[in-house]
Point group: C2
Chain length 152, copies 2
């Protein structure tokens, strides 16, 4: 309804990494297993997050990914601007290229405050806090694995 799958994977992975001991690289495979997400695809996403400075990566034995120093405070908005693109906050719900208070689509003034709530929410949530929430055990980052089915 709001985020691409790529964004969802990125956010899940970042939160998961933020729950792990800082400075201890986390394996792509472990993240993928934990989130139940395609590993090769996730690797691409993590690489991209590295290029954008959110993560550090280490090759070879004991390699993996960890949050770049200071990036625990990253807001979801910062992440989404990378994964959804810089126009993430600018979109008209009807798809008009130009939709401002002056030249508005008929939904503009109803949509605007809601959109602003979304933006405020994304600005308000930080990896750190989300990671802590997960660490309490009250919240889940991924669906539970399906129960093993008996073989007919």
């Amino acid at each position: 309804m709001v985020l691409s799958r790529t964004s969802q994977y990125a956010v899940q992975a970042l939160i998961y990494i933020a729950t792990q001991a800082p400075g201890e690289p986390v394996l792509n495979r472990d993240i993928a297993d934990r989130l139940n997400v395609p590993a090769a695809y996730l690797a691409k996403i993590l690489q991209s997050l590295c290029k954008h400075g959110l993560l550090d990566s280490f090759r070879g034995r004991l390699g993996g990914f960890c949050l770049r120093d200071g990036m625990q405070k990253t807001s979801l908005m910062q992440v989404l601007l990378l994964t959804e693109g810089p126009d993430f906050t600018k979109s008209c719900i009807l798809g008009l290229k130009e939709c401002t208070d002056e030249t508005a689509c008929p939904m503009h003034f109803k949509w605007k405050p809601v959109k602003n709530k979304i933006i405020a929410m994304m600005n308000d949530m930080h990896l750190e806090d989300l990671a802590k929430a997960v660490q309490t055990g009250k919240y889940r980052l991924a669906d539970l694995p399906a129960a093993a089915m008996p073989v007919a």
Copy 2:
């Protein structure tokens, strides 16, 4: 950010049709021109809206599409449930299949009220009202045509 292009085209077209004289079929071509949207694609969308009972269609001369009787009161939510699918209102922002108050993702309780605002908004807006808003001339359904560029 929220709606597929197909949904955007559908909503735009429905509002446009609602601005036209009831009972007077509107040509697919006219709608497409007016909204600056691919005509053949729009035709598919309108056909689907017919099958779902929002529109009536007429073939041959003086043919076209018009709102089915009574459908001026259709809410955007009704439209979006058709174009985005029945899970439109159920989605977890992180993509979890199950994300409820009991088994929640770490964003759940922040996202929930915002999602409910979106749902309320979509339930609140009806074709009729949006059409009237457009008829005042204060709101636009499509981008203005690009100004003709001088040739070099």
